[in-house]
């Protein structure tokens, strides 16, 4: 009887999520033409992914870029998130509600749309940023930020951080609000300054949240696709400097590589499986380090 209640949900969830995820891993051992994969090839796709000079160089490039993406995000987005949270939970400040609302606005917007907006702003010829820089006499900084392989990835990462900083901010706020007031009071009576209260009282108690934020960022970053697609394109230009696991997967498994345009779905499934293994290893490591059960949080951001 109860099974009947749960059955529709189980059916949809199994058919369109659980099964395809598992089956895609199985398909990484197959090859075929077009959309049907019927030829068992063992580890052939993985051998090509790691040993074929052309494919593996693209793979390692995307993999490396993704770590840079993650590193800058942790450094910029999550420290800003922590800073905002500390300010917004600290001493009374007029307009807290307003700032909270504004910081979170971009989280609700489509990554594609914000990517386009920033692409327009950053346009070297007539973009608002360079017009603004020229107006305030900083002409020398008016550069093609998205066209230079040395800056493109960092700029894309900053736009992504601009969009998502509201998530860590709100999570840190929730964490900070749960710390009992008397802990601060006793620390303050002991004469501890703002910095010591932060380092010795707040930060240690926030460690579980730091763990969750790290895992969410990690999963989100290794699934990122939209921001690069909007700002630079599916090829990760200029010269693959913004290519990530997401765009690499899209080209190999879904859209097909230029100039052929036919997807290599077996190889794509192998890329997806490798991504999954990386994510899984990362989550396990984070669990070890923070000693918290944070796995449940991962899916939340993995779909952006």
């Amino acid at each position: 009887m109860w099974l009947l209640f749960a059955l529709p949900a189980i059916a949809v969830y199994t058919a369109f999520m659980a099964f395809p995820v598992v089956n895609s891993m199985r398909l990484s051992f197959f090859s075929g033409s077009g959309y049907s994969l019927d030829n068992f090839v063992g580890f052939d796709n993985y051998v090509r992914l790691f040993a074929d000079p052309e494919i593996s160089s693209r793979f390692w490039c995307a993999f490396r870029n993704n770590w840079v993406f993650f590193g800058i995000t942790m450094l910029v987005q999550n420290s800003f998130g922590l800073l905002f949270a500390l300010i917004l939970t600290g001493k009374p400040l007029a307009g807290k509600g307003f700032f909270r609302t504004v910081i979170f606005i971009p989280v609700t917007l489509s990554v594609l749309v914000t990517g386009y907006i920033w692409k327009l702003i950053l346009n070297p010829q007539w973009g608002a940023l360079n017009l603004f820089l020229a107006k305030v006499g900083l002409q020398s900084l008016a550069l093609p930020w998205l066209g230079d392989p040395r800056t493109a990835l960092a700029v894309v990462t900053l736009v992504s951080a601009w969009q998502w900083v509201g998530m860590p901010t709100m999570m840190f706020i929730a964490g900070l609000e749960r710390i009992p007031e008397d802990l601060f009071e006793s620390a303050q009576i002991d004469g501890a300054g703002v910095w010591r209260v932060f380092a010795q009282v707040k930060l240690p108690l926030l460690m579980p949240i730091v763990g969750i934020v790290t895992v969410l960022t990690f999963v989100g970053n290794f699934n990122a696709f939209d921001v690069v697609y909007a700002m630079e394109g599916a090829n990760g230009p200029p010269s693959y400097s913004t290519d990530l696991m997401g765009t690499f997967f899209y080209r190999t498994g879904i859209a097909g590589q230029h100039p052929v345009g036919i997807p290599d779905m077996g190889l794509g499934a192998a890329v997806a499986t490798v991504t999954f293994v990386v994510l899984f290893a990362g989550i396990l490591l984070a669990n070890r380090l923070t000693g918290e059960r944070v796995a449940g949080a991962a899916g939340a951001k993995g779909r952006e």
Binding site: Y13, F19, T108, L109, I209, I212
Partner: protein, 278 residues
């Protein structure tokens, strides 16, 4: 710990940080909206100020002579249907998992919760094949079952916790009266879990409305596109029609911004919900 009268000496610095960031958030959105009402030359002359002369051409072309109203309706239908199915199927399953005391129900619950950890994108290759097999490729409807599957883990997880927290007496009294379990679900459990349903709805609303990935890989046919997929065409076709490009970009995010500003608290709670519980 209200310390009235004590001046916070760090306040100016705090306002500087928060004010700078607020500008950084508002400025791009402001530029987008004001420039969508300007003539092309006026954009170059004064890209940041409000429009000197209002130009509605961009909006007019979008509404009268473009596929965007169609895309908007497609997205609207996809979002509403997916959310309705997530809430209905998810609450049924959660209710069953709570009331059904057996090892099987425990496993079913864990099966759903396991889905919280796995990004569904990993299964894209096989999902493509499934859509081809079902004849859904190139149809707007193709994304619905995927969104429902992707929303069910959080729905079951959140609603399970919530329903389990309800006092048992409420349903037991009805059971003794001989009320069937579906009636109990519909007339007793559902009204009580409304707040949790709202959280689950918002949590899923934003990613579904904003999703690019699945429409991009499933749908190529023009009239089947969702709004966000439609936006990807902007730069190819209307290369120089700025008022149109900006009108479309504004239209695609202003509804969400208004909805968000009207219910900021619920949005923030909903979107961070899955994360904070951990």
């Amino acid at each position: 710990m209200a310390k009235h009268g004590v001046r916070d000496r760090s306040a100016p610095l705090k306002y500087l940080v928060l004010g700078f960031w607020s500008l950084l958030v508002i400025f791009p959105l402001w530029t987008m909206v004001v420039n969508s009402f300007k003539f092309k030359n006026d954009i170059y002359l004064d890209p940041f100020g409000p429009p000197m002369r209002v130009n509605l051409e961009g909006y007019k072309t979008v509404f009268e002579n473009s596929p965007f109203p169609r895309y908007f309706l497609n997205s609207f239908a996809v979002t509403v249907i997916s959310l309705a199915l997530i809430l209905f199927l998810g609450s049924l399953a959660a209710y069953a998992c709570v009331r059904w005391n057996s090892r099987a129900s425990r496993w079913i619950y864990l099966f759903f919760v396991a889905g919280l950890t796995v990004p569904i994108k990993i299964g894209s290759v096989n999902l493509m094949q499934i859509m081809i097999g079902l004849g859904l490729l190139d149809k707007t409807a193709s994304v619905v079952p995927v969104y429902v599957a992707m929303g069910l883990p959080i729905a079951v997880y959140a609603l399970y916790e919530f329903i389990r927290g309800l006092p048992n007496e409420l349903t037991e009294a009805a059971l003794i009266d001989g009320t069937g379990p579906f009636r109990i679900y519909r007339s007793i459990v559902m009204p009580l879990v409304k707040p949790a349903l709202a959280t689950v709805a918002i949590f899923n609303l934003v990613p579904i409305w904003n999703d690019l990935w699945f429409p991009l890989i499933f749908i190529r046919k023009d009239d089947q596109r969702t709004l966000i997929l439609g936006v990807t065409r902007l730069f190819g076709e209307y290369q120089t029609d700025w008022s149109k490009i900006l009108a479309v970009l504004s239209l695609s995010c202003v509804p969400v911004i208004i909805l968000y500003l009207a219910m900021a608290k619920q949005f923030i709670a909903g979107l961070t919900a899955g994360a904070v519980k951990g």
